[in-house]
């Protein structure tokens, strides 16, 4: 709990300092770049998994794998976003963006998992 509180406070400080160092343009470009690279990296894996859904006995395993992959995608996106930001603004490299990646990645992936569970329940109800 102490570690989590420390991480949260650290991420707030890093976020505050990031706001000073970044511009709208660099933010836009790093988000776009990160989104494109994450998509290019993970899209083939998603497409292969989706096509495996025709194997009924694999469906449960595939649903779990999709969840894991979504969480991985969020963390890759977060990491790449701050990495690309660092290329635009080298001072960012000196900040501890790892804490921000962990905090933001965890919140986003938790949200994704909740939405995913709702979708899966709706899907299974109609199956």
């Amino acid at each position: 709990m102490k570690y989590l509180t420390k991480l949260w406070n650290q991420s707030k400080v890093v976020r505050y300092r990031l706001d000073d160092l970044t511009t709208i343009k660099s933010t836009f470009l790093s988000v776009l770049g990160s989104l494109i690279i994450t998509t290019l990296l993970l899209l083939p894996v998603y497409l292969i998994l989706v096509q495996l859904f025709m194997f009924v006995e694999l469906q449960l395993l595939l649903i779990i794998l999709l969840f894991i992959l979504s969480v991985i995608a969020v963390f890759i996106y977060e990491y790449l976003m701050y990495y690309i930001h660092g290329l635009f603004e080298p001072k960012i490299k000196l900040l501890n963006t790892k804490s921000l990646v962990i905090v933001e990645g965890s919140i986003m992936s938790a949200l994704l998992v909740v939405v995913g569970i709702i979708f899966v329940l709706i899907f299974l109800q109609g199956a």
Partner: protein, 326 residues
């Protein structure tokens, strides 16, 4: 410098492999696949109020996917239980929405026909079981694309002012004749008059559309809220409703079946039978009812499961009560 060169080489090689992989994963082909799926108790699809409905009568569906990608085709063709084949004519000329709509129309028609057939049969045993219904017309399940003034889901209520009262006469009049037809059409609750010139090679496919006014005992259709579509569970719905209505509660083994129920009590043809048999066999089910017209296609699988060919619903009742349960 050397490292940069290695990175460039790796990038050259990987990017081509990546593009090939993406083409294989994204570009659709003109093939569709049919794969085994799970069975489902028919009492979860149609339920009769106040009656004890057996969970042992089951329908089995298949998973289908149209316009599969090249990668998927390679993957599915490796599995002998899957059937990969070129797109059927209807699938290739209709939009995905129209194909989806067809599935829903077929499911609705299947429920209506099952209820009418089962209640009518049960009425012969018990006069207090009644159903009151009217024929609205013929619902269009498929029409050749050149007849696009008619839409999938349109209900033809009359042809050339003949005031037809039964589905068979109406259908035969339309199928056996050609030339100009004046059709009374019900579309989105609005009546339209559409004239078409039907040629000999035109393809039309219909289902009867009924309005069920009242049924005793009452029924509910939880299956309308499921993603399952198509007409192939009609026979099993009919059997489930019929046995519930006559209080026949001695079915204690799982019996799975497939086949449409037709207006004249015949069991009509269906698709993906081999995959359905594999699906049932995986679940350890021992008895499978198939339409008699398909028996030759699957009799070589009788070492996996007991296969019973049935031509009519009366024959299916006979097989269950006298062969399977004895």
């Amino acid at each position: 410098m050397k490292q940069t060169s290695k990175l460039k080489t790796l990038f050259h090689s990987v990017i081509f492999a990546y593009i090939y992989l993406m083409i294989a994963l994204v570009i659709p082909t003109n093939y569709s696949v049919t794969a085994p799926n799970k069975s489902r108790s028919t009492n979860t699809m149609v339920s009769i109020e106040g009656k004890n409905q057996t969970p042992h009568l089951k329908s089995v569906s298949v998973l289908t996917m149209s316009r599969i990608t090249g990668f998927a085709r390679m993957l599915y063709e490796m599995n002998p239980q899957f059937e990969v084949e070129p797109l059927q004519y209807a699938e290739s000329v209709l939009s995905p929405y129209e194909n989806h709509l067809r599935g829903i129309i077929q499911k609705e028609a299947s429920f209506e026909q099952s209820l009418i057939t089962a209640y009518t049969l049960a009425h012969e045993t018990n006069a207090s079981i009644t159903i009151d219904y009217d024929l609205i017309g013929m619902i269009i399940d498929f029409r050749s694309p050149e007849y696009n003034t008619l839409k999938i889901g349109d209900i033809i209520t009359d042809i050339d002012d003949n005031n037809f009262t039964d589905y068979e006469t109406m259908g035969m009049y339309f199928i056996l004749n050609e030339g100009d037809f004046k059709l009374d059409v019900l579309r989105d609750d609005k009546h339209l008059e559409i004239t078409i010139n039907k040629t000999n090679d035109a393809i039309f496919r219909f289902y009867p559309k009924y309005q069920i006014n009242q049924a005793s005992p009452q029924y509910s259709l939880p299956g309308m809220d499921t993603n399952l579509t198509g007409p192939s569970a009609g026979m099993m719905y009919t059997l489930s409703i019929y046995f519930a209505l006559i209080d026949y509660d001695v079915i204690n083994v799982d019996i799975v079946g497939t086949g449409t129920i037709r207006y004249n009590n015949e069991i009509g043809p269906i698709g993906g039978l081999v995959q359905k048999i594999y699906g049932a066999q995986k679940e350890g089910i021992k008895h499978f009812l198939v339409p008699a017209v398909h028996y030759d296609e699957v009799k070589n699988l009788s070492h996996l499961i007991n296969i019973y060919p049935v031509a009519t619903i009366e024959e299916a009742i006979e097989v269950i009560t006298n062969e399977i349960l004895n």
